[in-house]
């Protein structure tokens, strides 16, 4: 019940918000809803057993029995934090966008809630078709968020976003259907359940691309790789980010990209173990390319938001190599980095949005010397920057450290290359920071007709939890990792033949 409630409550909220008559109380209402949802998701902790690697709080009912499609929710250490991240970022994004969305607020808020529901469903659904449903559903609200409330080139961006992601998912759908037939062959009855996928033994012929496992693997991997996005498929991301409204960017970067990496962890690596091992080098390669390429391109961006977007490409490259390192360090680091990236990039987008609200420009060259004008804003930005470049004691460090260690352990060559991202990350972030905050005051900053105001109380409220998390996660990662430890250990140790048990867990109070 709990997981269903967590997933479907936002849908209800979306409906209420969409029909709410009073414009004035709309935003507080939505915020309240988002907080309720967050509190509800915290309830998962109460029932979650961190010592178990099994699927917990499972809800499983037949849905379309003929094809073995089930209504199947479950949570384990891998998805737990992503769920929390989602519910956490939603109120933050809403509060962050308090003023930036002026038109069609109702629709926007409804979109946010639907998106939240879809993302939560993606993280919790354990049935392929069910998963696919949520996966695709998440596209729609984001499509509208960018397309309606976006910037000048929003239509271009949103169509690009949609088509890119769609291309991958369609292949995935084909693969899912094929897998369902395989289950029918193997077990006699058709099933779309993830657990049955895990039990499948898909033929793999090393070095032959047309072997079934490799094909399925490629189809799934392509879908997730586009979402992540990995190097050559990333071009939708900067456009989408630049045009998206602030909360859209926050959620897109904070959670949606994680759907790709999460997909790898949940749907690719355990399902296609041989192919994963066999082609890990390729993903390491594009991961490393992504790190370096993203960083280099980010360095020369004239637009802050685009810079942050490319930095996401770089960071997601880390996550990818972490996951495909296939050892405890890499995978743990990868998962942790997903959370880090959600927090730090989310916060960066929020901050960029805040300054954009003040100056209506994101061009780096028009800024300069902001530090003298907006001290609190600068501090917040600086802390988030630190987190982004993985300075120790911030969350980013833990993730990057583990990922690099894992990559190094897997194959030191990747380690050597990937480490360069550490330097390049500092270069592009600090250079941007320098150009925006230091130096003589830029044209936007010294504009006397429009004096800039430092963070308002609301904005501080938005940023405070992010900053607290940056340090909390950096200083005491055990708190977070302990919940995932069992699952991740299980994940790595049984990579060759992954099975996921179902644990009834503590009795869920109805």
């Amino acid at each position: 019940m709990l997981l269903s409630a967590v997933v479907f409550l936002p849908m209800l909220f979306a409906l209420i918000v969409a029909l709410w008559p009073n414009q004035r109380t709309l935003r507080p209402l939505a915020l309240g809803f988002a907080l309720i949802e967050f509190a509800l998701s915290l309830g998962i902790f109460y029932y979650f057993d961190p010592s178990s690697s099994a699927l917990q709080l499972v809800e499983r009912y037949p849905w379309i029995e003929r094809f073995g499609i089930t209504y199947f929710f479950g949570i384990d250490g891998i998805s737990l934090w992503l769920v929390i991240l989602t519910t956490f970022l939603t109120p933050v994004a809403l509060l962050g966008a308090w003023k930036s969305i002026e038109e069609r607020v109702r629709g926007f808020l409804a979109c946010v809630f639907i998106l939240e529901a879809a993302m939560l469903g993606t993280f919790l659904a354990m049935d392929a078709v069910f998963f696919y449903l949520f996966w695709e559903l998440s596209l729609v609200p984001m499509y509208f968020m960018i397309g309606i409330w976006g910037g000048a080139r929003r239509i271009y961006a949103t169509v690009k976003f949609f088509i890119f992601t769609m291309v991958g998912s369609v292949l995935m759908l084909v693969a899912i259907i094929y897998m369902m037939f395989l289950t029918a062959e193997a077990f006699g009855t058709m099933s779309a359940s993830l657990l049955d996928f895990y039990r499948l033994d898909i033929p793999f012929i090393s070095g032959q691309f047309l072997s079934p496992q490799t094909l399925m693997f490629s189809a799934f991997a392509l879908a997730f790789a586009i979402k992540v996005p990995v190097f050559p498929l990333h071009t939708w991301l900067p456009d989408a980010h630049v045009e998206a409204p602030t909360p859209g960017s926050v959620i897109l970067a904070g959670v949606m990209l994680k759907m790709g990496t999460y997909g790898f962890m949940r749907w690719v690596m355990p399902v296609f173990p041989e192919a994963t091992v066999h082609y890990a080098w390729f993903f390491m390669l594009i991961g490393v390319i992504g790190i370096i390429y993203g960083a280099l391109v980010a360095m020369v961006q004239p637009d802050i938001k685009k810079l942050v977007a490319y930095s996401s490409v770089s960071h997601m490259g880390y996550i990818l190599i972490g996951l495909f390192a296939l050892n405890e360090f890499g995978v743990t680091g990868g998962l942790y980095q997903m959370l880090n990236h959600g927090i730090s990039t989310g916060a960066l987008f929020l901050l960029v949005g805040m300054i954009y609200e003040r100056t209506h420009s994101r061009e780096i060259s028009r800024y300069g010397g902001l530090a003298g004008v907006l001290p609190f804003f600068t501090i917040a930005f600086f802390i988030v920057t630190l987190s982004s470049i993985a300075v120790p004691m911030t969350n980013g460090f833990i993730g990057e450290f583990l990922i690099l260690l894992g990559a190094f352990q897997a194959n030191s060559v990747w380690g050597y290359f990937a480490v360069s991202g550490v330097v390049l990350g500092a270069v592009y972030m600090l250079w941007m920071f320098k150009r925006v905050f230091f130096g003589p005051q830029g044209e936007l900053v010294k504009d006397e007709h429009h004096p800039l105001h430092d963070l308002s109380v609301r904005e501080m409220f938005v940023l405070a939890p992010m900053i607290v998390l940056v340090f909390w996660m950096g200083l005491y990662p055990s708190f977070f990792l302990n919940y995932s430890k069992a699952s991740l250990d299980h994940f790595v140790k049984n990579q060759a033949h992954y099975e996921l048990a179902i644990q009834s867990g503590k009795e869920v109070a109805q």
């Binding site: 030191s412 550490v422 250990d489």
Partner: protein, 644 residues
Amino acid sequence: MNHPILMATLLLAPFVGFLINGLRYKRHSANLAGVIATTAVVISFISAILLVVDLVGLPPETRVISVKFFEWISVASLKINAGFVLDPVSAIMILVITGVGSLIHLFSIGYMHHDAGAAKYFAYLNLFLFNMLILVLGDSLPVMFVGWEGVGLCSYLLIGFWFTDDQKAAAGMKAFVTNRVGDAAFLLGMFILFLSFGTLTFSEINQLAPTDPTLAWMNPVTLGTLFLFIGATGKSAQIPLYVWLPDAMAGPTPVSALIHAATMVTAGVYMIVRLNPLFLAAPNTMMIIAIIGALTVLLGATIGMTQWDIKKVLAYSTVSQLGYMFLACGVGAFGAAMFHLMTHAFFKALMFLGSGSVIHAMHEEQDIRKMGGLKKYLPITHWTFFFGWVAIIGLPPFAGFFSKDEILAFAFFSPLGHEALWAVGALGATLTAFYMTRLMALTFWGKSRVPKDTHPHESPPTMSIPLIVLGVLSIVGGWIGIPHVIGAILPGHPENFLEHWLHHSIKPIPGLTPFDVTTEWVLMGVSVTLAICSAFVAYHMYVQAPQKPEKVAKAIGPVYKVIYNKYFVDEAYFAGIINPLVKASKGLWYYIDVNFIDKTTYVISDVVRGGGSLVRSLQNGNIQVYAMYISLGLVATLLFLLVR
């Protein structure tokens, strides 16, 4: 008092100071901020003393206080605690850090009292100390790395303290990025060590370090130490990553004294000393360290001879002196390295503070060509500076003499050393004497070239007291490590206290034979003589015959130009690395991202769209034509069925 609380006080006092000053910095007056910060550091200093006293009380074999606060990272076999360890090596460090730190904080009260951002400044300074303490006390490489990056961060903040100046902000960034290059190598070093030893704790690594040295290059020990050393070159401003340090002088002068002379830059040396058994097991690395150290000595010294900015001279001097420390490490003389680290901290901090006093007096003027004859305006500054000068050029019995001499002796005698290394070291000492004398001469002695409208004045007591204290330390600081040869002839035969203190922390150099006393005396004599001669030459050139330097410069023409321009290293880096990188990035963005990938997708979409428009002509909206298709389809279907 129990150790965890003391340790916590030691670490957190500066942090609390940082929070107080940092969170309310707009409302604090400069003086109040200074007092808060200084108090915090003094508290820290007192705890450090108390801890060290406890440490002394322990038996020498188990002279370690380790405190574990909580488990920081624990993944699979990787278990890193937020643990701190105080042993003889780190004891020296915390005393130096908190001690010198207190003095510099005190100095800063005076130096910064007119600055609007003073509270921010003190906050950063406290934060720096906090990080530095983590660095030296951390019981494992990752914890050290926390401080390692933390100090880099504070250094960045402090260098760019006056951020409205673009160059200063750029200097900060340069420092951080250069350090980051080192840090990346540091990370790699850690990974290599972890993967071969399975641990990152200093004590365990040192225990596991192989006892017989290996000459293989691709050995994890060699590689790991090499990468750690690259990390150290970043932090400690060695070739090739020293370039940030001279630029770092953009920060407030006390910062230069604390961070860029006394403490942070020595972190690399400290790290190597910390892992000395490991480094000893990698002779190849040791050789590289020694060579790099020696080269840096020369590089820093030569450039220092030509600079006109008082702080730049000191900065290059720092680079050079750090080279000595690495030279010492490279030849296995870790004790000597620590010794020089300490004495250098005293006299270089002193000289930086002195220069700060001068700059303060000259109203932010740093060009020594506009100084001269300041002796009479700034007596205290002059005399304290004078002691620093004698210490650095290695005049006995001042601090620098003992430490530098020990390094040179080890360079000569150690099986890891070489005569050439000694020669370079001695040459470096000579050059040091020259440029330091030049600095003294141009600043304090000779004719005044002070502009008319500037009225130099002596600094307030908050600034002069630290100068005096450090001056005293520059005189006596060397006495804790009197070499045996000298100790033997002195009354009371003072033993080498430092060596004794570090005995259990430092692994002896394998194959080291006791020094030949005669040779040692000769070497000592040669280097001191050379230094004195060179000092006199410099005095002559800059005080008695002020036109001579120009002639010399003209005589050696291109060489001077190269040296004056710091060997064009910055330019080379820009031309060779940074500019190509930026250009390549722009190229990547423009050609790959925008033109290749996007265009490719456009091509795909165009193909689809083209196909669509081809088919679209069939779907022209004319219902009857559609109906015709349907009927044709029906006909075809029926035909098929009939024919079949």
